[in-house]
């Protein structure tokens, strides 16, 4: 396992490469790149919660949504700076995370999944979309966010989308490194101990209440960090990106890519943001000037389902986990074959 310095160096290299990716693309793809990071944060939040601590949650998009609305409201209604908006958004998401974590102290597996799914539904139907909360949600139109800047860098979505992308990417790389550190640290071991056997963890001195709530808080905070950038890059907030299905998709794609591994979050985010857009753009036309085809967004959802089934059979540890294991197996293989004399 590489040391701290190596990890930071790897993160900087990853930043340098990924920062170049969307340069020169049209605005649509630049938006996709930024969106990929937001969903990347969403999957990263599952890496801590599910991958490390073994808890189930089907409301990660709700955390992101609460943070998005929190940030949007701070900027538009309270006229705070965008930085303050992010802080407010992450704080709101973290608080909600601790509240959602409370039932997890008693529940496990499928029951916990249902409860968190219920929370996602409630927020989707009765908070984000309900007229009762129009004062908070800004109604169906949400808020327009204009002239936003962070540290004096203008990150307004219409002109400086790439600047917002770069800041988001830097944060993503930083959080990713911190999470890998966390995995190898004492707290990470306590999370993993809870995942492998709660009984043994509690009788070996791990405070279950504290560490389960901590896992939910960290997880919700990370999802919220991504979500709080949404109003910035989209220029507005709306309920649609954070509805129940997004939470399910985050969970499904997280498992597909390998929910125990930090880099899988980047892969998953990209997959989730870019593939549907490519499908809607290029998914229709005429093949060999005879067959008309139209592969719309619906096909993306079907594809995720099929891929998930294939992955569970062929790569039970997720795409990244499997590739990693294969790479490790190649390294162990002897370099030279001994020829018989």
């Amino acid at each position: 396992m590489p040391g701290h310095v190596t990890r930071f160096a790897m993160a900087i290299v990853a930043f340098a490469i990924l920062a170049r990716l969307p340069v020169g693309l049209d605005t649509g793809f630049q938006f996709d790149a930024a969106l990929a990071l937001i969903w990347g944060f969403g999957i990263l939040s599952l890496v801590v919660l599910t991958g490390y601590a073994g808890q189930v949650s089907l409301c990660q998009a709700t955390f992101a949504g609460v943070a998005a609305y929190g940030a949007g409201m701070t900027v538009s209604s309270l006229h705070g700076g965008y930085l303050l908006g992010i802080v407010a958004g992450v704080f709101a998401a973290t608080v909600l995370g601790v509240i959602v974590g409370l039932p997890a102290l008693r529940l496990h597996g499928i029951t916990l999944a249902i409860v968190t799914l219920g929370i996602a539904l409630v927020f989707d139907k009765y908070v984000f979309q309900d007229h009762l909360f129009d004062w908070f949600t800004g109604g169906t139109g949400g808020w327009q966010v204009t002239n936003a800047s962070i540290f004096g860098i203008s990150v307004d979505s219409r002109e400086h989308l790439l600047a917002a992308y770069d800041i988001l990417l830097a944060l993503f790389c930083l959080v990713a490194v911190l999470l890998v550190n966390l995995h190898q640290s004492g707290a990470g071991r306590r999370f993993r101990a809870i995942r492998d056997s709660e009984l043994a963890a509690s009788t070996m001195g791990v405070n279950l209440t504290r560490y389960k709530l901590l896992a939910f808080a960290i997880s919700a905070g990370i999802a919220g960090l991504g979500g709080s950038f949404y109003p910035l890059i989209a220029g507005s907030v709306s309920p649609q990106p954070f509805w129940v299905f997004t939470s399910l998709q985050l969970a499904a794609i997280g498992v597909l890519m390998g929910v125990r591994y930090v880099p899988a979050a980047a892969l998953g985010g990209m997959f989730m943001a870019v593939v549907p857009d490519v499908l809607t753009r290029y998914g229709h036309g005429t093949f060999m000037s005879r067959f008309n085809y139209d592969i719309s967004y619906d096909w993306f959802q079907i594809a995720v389902g099929v891929l998930l089934v294939l992955q569970l059979i062929l790569m039970p540890d997720g795409v990244w986990g499997d590739l990693r294991a294969r790479a490790a197996a190649m390294r162990i293989r002897p370099v030279k074959k001994v020829r018989p004399a």
Binding site: L182, S185, G186, G188, R189, V206
Partner: protein, 582 residues
């Protein structure tokens, strides 16, 4: 000084009284034994002490302070560590990491500093690793530090669990069946280890185990639980001679040493019915030839040739890891055979689906019984008849196991181990099998129950059902079996009539020793099986093997006589056995 003081402890699960009025004192530095038949409440008592179960009444004081409102992790930090009967290591973590978690818990680490990788955390991390390595060194686990806990064999995992408990810097360690699943050599090693651990780490221990020889050897004082109450307590010698204890735990008086082996015991008194004769006449029921199987890259068994006649009881014996379980799995199709033929009732079933094989009348009760803990007894049995398409006739099962009729509505998981095994056996016979394969039927069960279960096997035979047994209680298995196969290193080393093996024990002794680790002691030369093959056997090993888990009394008597005559117990035992032969 009293370290742990328990007064009037009571636990009820619904209507079931698991513990009632239990009082117990444990002094600093003491190793206290806790014994009793299955379902006596030993593990429940452990759960109360470690805080996993809340008692309904009574008090527990540790070092003078009440534990009433302390959650499990708080008790752990105060110095109570434990191991588990069914291993609870963190499988996806390395052995070293498994030990680091409790070390951190005592040291109270800072999460934020950990994630940022601050120098403070680096220092704490390094010292934790050093401590963990030191503990692993004492337990002879140096070679396993970086291995994932889940990949280790059960014997090693038990030792890692002990190490993890010690990493807590505990004052009291609760050991729940540390010898379960260990072979004779490993148990011997464990006994020495526990004494070493007490000296080195200055801990007191509370020990639950079924291996009476271990408990008697290791413990300073013993409590006997039966039906949730303290039946008796005292020094090992006193407990051993307590008639109440013998009646509760062993069920009946034990046979005298060196008395000629009795012939095949007719335990049930049931006459052999015509069904048996018919079944016997029909010849070979199962014929296995050249069977090989394994897991992943590992080939566990090869060249297995084995037959079972209709209505015959055949035992598979041999040391841990010799391939007995894998052989049963390959026959029933749970593991896909890699080579060889498995002919059952005239059809080759090698590689067929397990459910098709079971429908042909081959029932397999796996190690650990393979039950669904939340289903009731009745539903479990009904499920078996439903899926097999056989007529539903639960009465047949309840006739054989009347005890299950009383418990028909109870969830299987709440039954005692012996009753669970009865459910597994009842389920198997309901599908009217022609061959029943039972893997480690007696594992973790008290001798009284084991005796009853072996009687059942005789009943099955009288009903014309052939039985293929894998068994750790070699004596009992040979008493009921017609023939036996002895496994060594993944193939069959010997085949003989059970009668013959009971008379000439050197064959079995040799086979077990082939894999047992060498231990210090007087070495004796033993001729094995007349093929001129000599093996050096050490005295403690020989004691373990010759006794083949005979009751502690018999062994003790042997050791006492050896001491009187000033000779090694092994040599004496061998001489006595040879006397029986002549």
């Amino acid at each position: 000084m009293t370290m742990l003081r328990i007064r009037n402890l009571g636990v009820r699960f619904g209507g079931v009284v698991a513990l009632h009025g239990v009082s117990l004192d444990l002094n600093r530095g003491e190793i206290l034994g806790l014994i009793g038949p299955n379902g006596a409440g030993k593990t429940t008592l452990f759960n109360c002490i470690s805080g996993v179960v809340q008692p309904s009444e009574g008090t527990i004081h540790f070092e003078g302070r009440s534990l009433r409102f302390a959650p499990p992790h708080e008790r752990a930090r105060r110095g109570i560590a434990r191991t588990f009967q069914n291993l609870q290591l963190w499988g996806s973590m390395t052995v070293l990491e498994n030990l680091q978690v409790p070390i951190d818990a005592v040291g109270r680490r800072n999460t934020l500093s950990d994630a940022l990788g601050l120098p403070l955390s680096h220092y704490a991390e390094r010292s934790a690793r050093e401590r963990a390595r030191a503990i692993l060194h004492v337990l002879d686990l140096d070679g396993y530090t970086q291995r994932l806990a889940a990949d280790l064999p059960a014997g090693i995992q038990r030792r890692v669990e002990l190490g993890r408990a010690l990493a807590m810097q505990p004052k009291l360690v609760l050991l729940d069946e540390p010898a379960a699943g260990l072979d004779a050599g490993e148990t011997e090693h464990l006994a020495q280890l526990l004494h070493k651990v007490r000296e080195r780490f200055r801990v007191s221990m509370l020990l639950v185990d079924h291996d009476m020889s271990l408990v008697m050897r290791v413990c300073d004082y013993i409590y006997v639980l039966d039906f949730g109450k303290v039946l008796s307590r005292g020094e090992p010698a006193a407990v051993r001679n307590d008639q109440n204890v013998i009646a509760a735990y062993l069920g009946e008086a034990t046979p005298e040493l060196a008395e000629p082996e009795p012939g095949p015991t007719v335990v049930t008194g049931l006459p052999r019915t015509d069904a048996v004769e018919v079944a016997r006449a029909s010849g070979r029921l199962l014929e296995v030839s050249g069977l090989a199987a394994g897991y992943g890259r590992l080939e566990v068994i090869r060249d297995i040739d084995l037959t079972v006649q209709a209505g015959e009881v055949v035992a598979c014996i041999g040391a841990n890891g010799a391939g007995k379980t894998t052989t049963l799995r390959a026959i029933s199709g749970v593991v896909r055979p890699r080579a060889g033929r498995v002919v059952f009732a005239g059809r080759d079933i090698a590689g067929a689906n397990p459910e098709r094989i079971s429908r042909m009348g081959l029932a397999h009760i796996p190690e650990g019984r393979g039950l669904f803990p939340r289903l009731s007894v009745e539903d479990t049995l009904r499920l078996a008849t439903d899926t097999s398409g056989k007529p539903e006739n639960l009465a047949a099962a309840f006739d054989v196991f009347p005890r299950l009729k009383q418990r028909r509505r109870q969830a299987v998981g709440t039954l005692s181990g012996g009753e669970q095994q009865m459910v597994a056996m009842a389920r198997a016979i309901l599908v009217q099998p022609r061959l029943l394969m039972i893997d480690e039927m007696s594992q973790g069960l008290a001798p009284t129950i084991v005796r009853q279960l072996f009687q059942m096997i005789d009943v099955f035979r009288s009903q014309g059902i052939a039985v293929l047994l894998v068994e750790q209680f070699v004596e009992s298995a040979l008493a009921v079996a017609d023939r036996a196969y002895i496994f060594e290193h993944g193939s069959i080393a010997h085949e003989a009539a059970a009668e013959e093996l009971r008379r000439d024990r050197s064959v079995i002794a040799g086979s077990y020793l082939g894999t047992a680790a060498a231990a210090p002691g007087d070495a004796i030369e033993v001729a094995s099986n007349g093929n001129g093959h000599h093996k050096r056997i050490t005295d403690p090993q020989l004691m373990e093997i010759l006794s083949m888990r005979v009751p502690a009394e018999v062994k003790r008597a042997l050791e006492e006589r050896a001491e009187r005559e000033g000779r090694s117990a092994g040599a004496l035992a061998l001489e006595l056995l040879e006397g029986v032969d002549r």
